[in-house]
Symmetry: C2
Subunit: 731 residues, 2 copies
Amino acid sequence: MAPSRALEQVGLPTPSAVIQPLDEQDLKALQQVGRHWNQALGPSLERLQALPVDPNLTRAPDAPRARGFSRFAPVVMFRPERPDELETTPAAIEPVSRVGRLLTGAKRVVIGPPLRSSAIVQERLRKLVALPVLASDLFASVAYGPESMLAILVVAGTSGLALSLPLAGVLVVLMLVVGVSYMQTISAYPTGAGSYIVAGDNLGERAGLTAAVGLLADYVLNVAVSVATGIAAITSAIPSLRPYTVVLGLGMIGLLLAGNLRGVREAGKLFAAPTYIFLFAMGLLICAGFAQAAGRGFAATPPPPIEPVEGLTLLLVLRAFASGSTSMTGIEAVANAVPSFEPPEAKNARTTMAWMIGILVTIFAGQMVLLHLDGIAWSPRETLLSQLAHTTFGNGVLYGFIQAATALMLLFAANTSYNAFPRLLYYMARSEHAPRSFLQLGDRLAFSNGIVLLTVASAAVFAGFHGNLHALIPLFAVGVFLAVTLSQAGMVVHWWRNGGRHWRRNLAVNGAGALLTAIVVVVAGAGKFTEGAWVVVVGIPLLIWLCLRIRAHYRSVHDALLLRPLPDEISQRNGAAAQDERIAAPTSRERQESPEQFEHLMLVPVERLDLANLRALAYAASLDQPLLAVHLSPDEEEAERFRDQWEAWAVPLRLELVHSPYRALVAPLAHYIEMLQAQRPEVTTTVVLAELVARRPWHRLLHGRLAPALRRALRAQPNIVITTVPVHVPG
Amino acid sequence: MAPSRALEQVGLPTPSAVIQPLDEQDLKALQQVGRHWNQALGPSLERLQALPVDPNLTRAPDAPRARGFSRFAPVVMFRPERPDELETTPAAIEPVSRVGRLLTGAKRVVIGPPLRSSAIVQERLRKLVALPVLASDLFASVAYGPESMLAILVVAGTSGLALSLPLAGVLVVLMLVVGVSYMQTISAYPTGAGSYIVAGDNLGERAGLTAAVGLLADYVLNVAVSVATGIAAITSAIPSLRPYTVVLGLGMIGLLLAGNLRGVREAGKLFAAPTYIFLFAMGLLICAGFAQAAGRGFAATPPPPIEPVEGLTLLLVLRAFASGSTSMTGIEAVANAVPSFEPPEAKNARTTMAWMIGILVTIFAGQMVLLHLDGIAWSPRETLLSQLAHTTFGNGVLYGFIQAATALMLLFAANTSYNAFPRLLYYMARSEHAPRSFLQLGDRLAFSNGIVLLTVASAAVFAGFHGNLHALIPLFAVGVFLAVTLSQAGMVVHWWRNGGRHWRRNLAVNGAGALLTAIVVVVAGAGKFTEGAWVVVVGIPLLIWLCLRIRAHYRSVHDALLLRPLPDEISQRNGAAAQDERIAAPTSRERQESPEQFEHLMLVPVERLDLANLRALAYAASLDQPLLAVHLSPDEEEAERFRDQWEAWAVPLRLELVHSPYRALVAPLAHYIEMLQAQRPEVTTTVVLAELVARRPWHRLLHGRLAPALRRALRAQPNIVITTVPVHVPG
């Protein structure tokens, strides 16, 4: 009956998250307000119920033809299981204009036909699809992590490089600790184990936001860095493409956009191949390397002697460790995406996490050991991976395959961000830390708004840095380790508070993880501060402040829109007494929740007495409420002319003639209305405006635009309702 | 009492021209409609008259303070002579936003404080001001007319140049004939003697439009050409400014814009000096030249012998004549501007015209005779005027003065267009050939819209041609002579039809003028066709077509908005019978002129049951008309949740629940409403929308924009009224 309820219970995004359920108290207020309405409306309810048309459309022709001004496609509506409700067909979401329909057609070709909300349960990740979707970022990291670690160690010469294996060992321990730690987190938070939720839950709102904002920044940077690395690999192979770096990168980002708008599962399919090819290439390289090493009895070739530039200080070692730890950026992706897995979600996510860590450690450790065995030293001219492939395979087809697979992997590593960024924004929007529009699911049940925002942000960063990798790298990795640290610190608190089986062991694992990653954050942030990390260090607090402001706004709107039950007695008195009561009561403006609280004034600005203005007057008069016509005259002559017409018409409605000797219309009218409201703020003034609607857009230039201008001017004034009575004029 | 009525009688633009008076038949229809209303409203009139506020503001505090969302400046309203009417103070036209107020402040500094409509009578031209305002174009023409004539004659060598005096004689005759001809026209059309009116009156709509469009094109070109010539004169003197030609020209056009927005009279003051300096310089040059010639007994110095390049053909002579006739472009300015003169308008205009022609002939003839006496031949290296000044004054201060005065004059010749262009558009708009917005008088009682359009068009032409004079000249002069020809041909018809004193003589004068100027049009259009005149020849019919389409649209709107008196009996029957009658009668949609013709359906889209949506529901319910609430659900889960809330509220209003499985809101809702309307097209559906209004613009990003989107989507559908119930939310 309601598949999405089940989904929501496991924390999966559903279309209905946009509208939140009422709590017990709200519901009680609603019931009281309803009782009050029924008393207030009394006998007039019958009039309100007597509809001139059949809302259930049973009387309607099956498909009314579009005619006159209508631009809507004829849509057949049919009734689903409940006979008193309606359902729209896909044609009902086609845009109304011809240009819009063309654009939509193009969109359909790129991202596919729209999916029904009920299809959401199908859009889950199988483990073999989840691996490439969620881990491509992590796997791609091993292509630059060891590289950047050895680039620092080499400064201390041969004695520095000798530390690479011990440091790699520490990193492997870190990977295992963080991996196990995340698996524990998934078990503890099976409905979504992201740092935002875990840190927010255990350490408070600001810690959660810090983690979230750090991750958001890193996702944007990951897209820019991955695309920049991938494009750099391509342009090294084909140097003539170098001038088009930015264009190629933006094209790649566009491709990611389109692929991800197609939806989670299709994006998985699209991006599975590069990941598996890369894994195959790495497996091949490591196996062949070890086979060769076994051939010579695992005797390590000594690296060429390198003169130290600096001494081997502790700071240098720490910086190398921090840089090496970029090999594990992207490790948090699975934990954020638990609800996207096929059920049983937590179990599948844990299994995938275990695979990921296993593969990561294998590739990373294998690579480091082979580098040691083959005596390969870091060189600014050739990447370590390329040197390794050269040593192992010479210069042939297999070398080319390794390089191509690496480039492809890097290019598609950006996709992990496309998965994680919108999902994180969804969770933030659900907690009102981000605009509500990030809750909406697009045509293909993907978070289109988040995907588009990520595309815009990363394209701006990429183009802003002209696709230059070296400028981007220092900004990277602070955010993600900040989030990982907070998440694990949160888990420490969680175990401390809640206990549970093996809580001491779990606490120790998470505590060790938190400590290690905290060191990485401090070292990375401080070590790279002047190289660009300051942007992130300054930017994160600003974004947190923005998120807090957004939440504050939503909270105050929520409070303002809370229902406030009215005393049931008011409407039981007779009219006059009730009215006095109402005026005396401290009813603030715009707090009317019930029909009898409205006291109306219909105000009709009349330009001249033609059909359009008379129609507006007649509409207002037909509602049987006090009516005031207002005319603005630019000069005495025109005032006289209008007065004559009004007297010829001779309907004794109240007319106010306002002279506007400076010929302005909107501002004086708005001010006049404000002065009326100053007399009785509790009166609701309905401004009834005639609006000529011409069929062709260029014809609109031939008519005044009073209605929109007045609507804008009166927007800020409380208790003013704007009613537009259109009069459609022919060609 | 009504000064502008007197103004209108003499044809002067008034602010009230925007709203045209009703004719006899319209007034009768209005009276009948009014009688019908009174019958239809009957006893409910009393309810409509019982206003909850005092519209005359006598109960209001003198100056209500701005508060809450209000951004309006507090304005004191006071009552003029009629005690029952109001008048706005200048503060009431201040814009509502802070940015707007800053911009307005800047505008006030440039163009001065706004003027009251009643100040329009003061903004008239005295003759001595009219001369520079209206004749600067004409006087500047003699700086390039002789030049371009002799440039063609020189091709035929010395024998060609010998024709310069005879051709100048013919041109003087042409000037006198056209001048006298225009003076006759002014007498015959004292309320505006422009070509548009005279040709339209006598030769029909299309002839009038042809003249008008020709003039409009030439006014734009005149600005571009004059500014280009003036800037060229400056950059010849200071060559380092040459790269800034376009910027300088646009700056000059901006100066003209600001000067003219200040209003007619101030513009006259601003631009009087250059004209009078130029006239003084020309007088000095001619007097000194003749004095020197008298000293040598008026013996003509023979010009240097020049070898002919071509033979002296009739075509060459005609082309030279056509080019020479550019000396009199701008001659029609006074006739267009008759109503701008101080009363007696026609007499003052005639006198000014006579002065203008006298001065023109004196300068032109004097210059031509002196060129002959001094034996000066055309040279591509130095202008004739410069050669003449050199010969007369040598190389001293006086030479510099003559050159500077000429450059200044050329630069300010553009101002004539600024006077004539908006005025012509006003006349066209009054006849519905141009958008109605050209009827509006700006803050300073100048036609701001026309002035801005001229600025934009001429700046675009100037920048498009990179300020290159030689590319612009061939486009020039066709339009103006087309207009002069049509105007004079119109006068021929006028005399033929209406007779009057000396009609034969008048007809002969205008006929001769028409014939001569027609020759100029043909020669200029054909001779310069391939050099660029084709743009004008093709463009003019297109613009005429556009003007005719504009008029056709206004006509059809006017017909659509005509009142159609209703039979008085309908409302005398009882309700039910009247309703049957109304349904049976062929009442087309949106033709309701009277309150009882409206049958209402209030349709309230409800997103959730919070205060904002309840307020919209309560507003709609308080109007006591049939009410239908509609809810759109993105999925089954959400539908169920809303159903529960609605049932908890328990007010038995009609709710229609529409499932929108593709999560779109606007298009399905619009289509649903269309399907309701298909059942009973005569029912007026009022869509009542709650709209959250946030105080800060960035907060608006945090809320959905359903109301504006729905308004756009429903715009095209007939008989749908949109009511926006705002709910202002805090910070």
